[in-house]
């Protein structure tokens, strides 16, 4: 057994039995489901819109070289510096290099899962810079020195009381259990940071090839401020974020908002096509865009699962997943959790270490149904299981199947085995689920079906 699977099993066992966690998640996601259903119903046809979105992303990903090249050229033509990073270490080095060359001290950041993926904050803090997360949820989990719990709702696992305690300890604020007052405490603390930050770092939801723009979706306005006030702006994004044309956003912005948070449109959807242009009164003097591969091209090379790169990180598959709702976001131990995380993590971080995520699924298909870009998620979980078994078959499992086949193919042996089993089953209750039970992994949490007093064959013979 490898370390990630052990951590997963231990954490899952704890969280699945935590009633506080269960209540919090069910309430939050219950609200989400009501809002999402209402907004989906307002679409002329949500299902057809999904197909259109899937086709658009298919076009983008299957011509990624052309679109990415066009995206970079258009950005460069208007004074943006585009950087390319094959892996996380290169991306960190590029970003630290920019920060150093500016003589910067403080950095304000808006939410970026790609930055979580490459552990950018740790790298910047180790280099001695002050980094502040500006998204409220991210700000909260940063104060707790914790990764985000969910890709869209980072602090979903915390109650207002826990957040109030945290703010009292870290910010010296007065206790309150009003979400509004807590939000205002964070707003005041962050306003100061905005006004003094030298560098603003953002992620991006889409990269528009046609015009050379990044598009950022957010509700709070923190990314707007991050891209407005500091003198230097850095955007880090994965190469799969590309959309061919600006007009494609007419489809993707409402779909992302609906699937992600049950909104018609997220509060701020902003396209940035360069640093401050002549005649504009503010905005950064320098704009750097860092394009990250980090093994996305390996996923691209697998045509069967290539559509996993269509993902727009809306979080809809997490929200509907019975596994995610039971074990929680941190249990996964990955940047991207839930069904899509289980699909892509083995590609991004190694199949054998992360194959257990593909096994932690009921294969119910709720994720595939929920996905706005129609990624075949639950089949990809099966594909991962198959690939893991082909790559490193389990000797014990194979022996077990051979033994079963041997017995099942010999009627006399099968009959004998059945009689023995029937004879001894009444004794099974004494060992069921204990370490003496040969079927323990199965019986520890399940009832064992009782064998019928007579087999079908016997019943048929007696009936005649």
């Amino acid at each position: 057994m490898t370390a990630p699977v052990q951590d997963f099993l231990v954490q899952a066992r704890i969280v699945a039995r935590d009633l506080r966690h269960r209540g919090l998640i069910q309430r939050a996601l219950g609200k989400y489901e009501v809002a999402r259903d209402r907004k989906q119903a307002a679409f002329g046809s949500w299902q057809s819109a999904r197909q259109a979105a899937a086709e658009t992303k298919w076009d983008a990903i299957n011509h990624l070289d052309q679109y990415l090249d066009q995206f970079a050229q258009r950005l460069e033509a208007r004074g943006t510096k585009v950087h390319w990073a094959s892996n996380g270490a290169q991306a960190r080095e590029i970003i630290l290099g920019i920060i150093k060359s500016k003589g910067a001290k403080s950095i304000i950041k808006s939410k970026a899962m790609t930055a979580e993926e490459i552990h950018l904050n740790d790298a910047m803090e180790q280099a001695g810079y002050e980094v502040v997360e500006s998204d409220l949820g991210e700000f909260i989990v940063q104060l707790r020195h914790e990764p985000p719990y969910h890709i869209v709702f980072p602090a979903m696992h915390l109650t207002r009381d826990e957040i109030s305690d945290l703010f009292q300890r870290k910010l010296g604020s007065a206790p309150t259990n009003e979400p509004e007052e807590l939000t205002m405490i964070a707003r005041r603390a962050l306003r100061e940071k905005y006004l003094t930050a030298d560098i603003g770092i953002t992620g991006a939801n889409f990269a528009i090839a046609e015009t050379g723009m990044i598009s950022i979706t957010e509700n709070e306005g923190n990314a707007r401020l991050t891209a407005a006030l500091p003198k230097t702006m850095i955007t880090l994004l994965g190469i799969e974020k590309v959309l061919p044309e600006l007009a494609d956003l007419a489809l993707f912005l409402p779909m992302l908002a609906t699937a992600g948070a049950g909104q018609t449109m997220t509060g701020y959807n902003t396209m940035y096509g360069g640093p401050r242009q002549p005649g504009e009164c503010d905005g950064p003097k320098e704009f750097h865009v860092v394009l990250l591969d980090n093994r996305r091209t390996e996923l691209l090379a697998d045509p069967e699962q290539r559509d996993a790169l269509h993902c727009i990180r809306c979080g809809a598959c997490l929200n509907v997943c019975p596994i995610f709702r039971n074990v929680g976001g941190h249990t996964y131990g990955t940047t991207y959790s839930g069904p899509v995380g289980s699909v892509i993590t083995p590609h991004l971080r190694g199949l054998q270490d992360w194959k257990h995520l593909s096994a932690s699924s009921s294969l119910c298909g709720a994720c595939t149904e929920a996905c706005p870009v129609k990624i075949d998620l639950h089949h990809h979980l099966l594909h991962n299981r198959r690939n893991a078994a082909t790559g490193k078959p389990s000797v014990l499992e194979r022996l077990a199947y051979h033994a079963f086949a041997f017995v099942a193919n010999r009627p006399a042996l099968w009959l004998f085995g059945k009689e023995v089993a029937r004879l001894f089953q009444p004794l099974h209750v004494f060992v069921k689920g204990s370490y003496l039970d040969p079927a323990r992994p199965w019986t520890a949490t399940r009832d064992t079906p009782e064998m019928a007093p007579e087999s079908f064959k016997e019943w048929w013979r007696n009936r005649r």
Binding site: Q51, T56, L190, E220, G221, L251, T270, A301
Partner: protein, 235 residues
């Protein structure tokens, strides 16, 4: 000329992409040998319009949709008959909010409207002090378009006072004319393309309601970082 290294990261990444794409992937919905439900002629977004949330074909319908969306978003929306009526609405809001100082940019609608308020005005064109802008009670801007389908206001960094004016002060007021109402996002993007061509502003923002967050127990709070209030006055 600086001498180029043998192979840049850009070339390496694009090379890996080209190599990966030598094998075709199935179209969406065709996994397991199924035929797709339908084939698209042209770009999907061009045929997707009837599948998206409704827009509205006449101005009355569009105003009604914008109003419905605004109610839900908690945007304060005023649709009035004349510029004088719009000025009266703005004066009422000034009094209700006890404004002492406002910020704006030079524009056909904004310049006269803010002058009529009788308050100190910070005009951001040509540069401004960020602390002074932060101290203003309201940011008053024009816009490119109002989108009926979503209740969004489209602003940009060239003719809506830059990047910060519409997010830094606690109240954002948008002044618009009725000709600026468009049905849906597709129409808004077409308008942007037609108006700016390849010379677009460095920032284009679709603002949909006041700043909001649900990060604490999924309970809606307005004014997370940006404006707590958004007012749209259209005449």
């Amino acid at each position: 000329m600086v001498e180029e290294p043998p192979m840049t990261e850009r070339e390496k990444i694009l090379g890996r992409i080209r190599e990966a794409l030598t094998v075709d992937a199935p179209h969406p919905g065709t996994h397991g040998g199924h035929e797709p439900a339908f084939h698209f002629k042209g770009r999907p977004v061009q045929v997707a319009q009837p599948w998206l949330p409704p827009d509205g074909s006449t101005l009355e319908e569009q105003v009604a949709r914008f109003r419905t969306a605004s109610t839900e978003l908690k945007t304060d929306f005023h649709f009035v008959e004349s510029a004088e009526a719009a000025a009266a609405v703005l004066a009422r809001i000034r009094d209700a909010g006890h404004w002492r100082r406002v910020a704006t940019h030079n524009g056909e609608l904004t310049t006269t409207a803010t002058a009529a308020l009788g308050l100190p005005v910070l005009t951001v064109d040509g540069g401004y002090d960020v602390n002074a802008l932060e101290a203003c009670d309201a940011g008053i801007t024009e816009c490119d378009a109002l989108v009926a389908q979503t209740g969004s206001v489209v602003v940009n960094s060239r003719n809506a006072g830059g990047r910060a004016l519409s997010v830094l002060p606690p109240h954002h007021v948008v002044l618009a004319r009725r000709e600026q109402m468009v049905g849906d996002l597709t129409a808004a993007f077409a308008l942007i393309k037609q108006r700016y061509g390849a010379d677009y502003p460095s920032m284009i923002s679709f603002i949909t309601g006041p700043s909001r967050t649900g990060d604490i127990e999924r309970i809606l709070v307005l004014g997370a970082h940006g404006p707590k209030q958004l007012t749209v006055i259209c005449h």
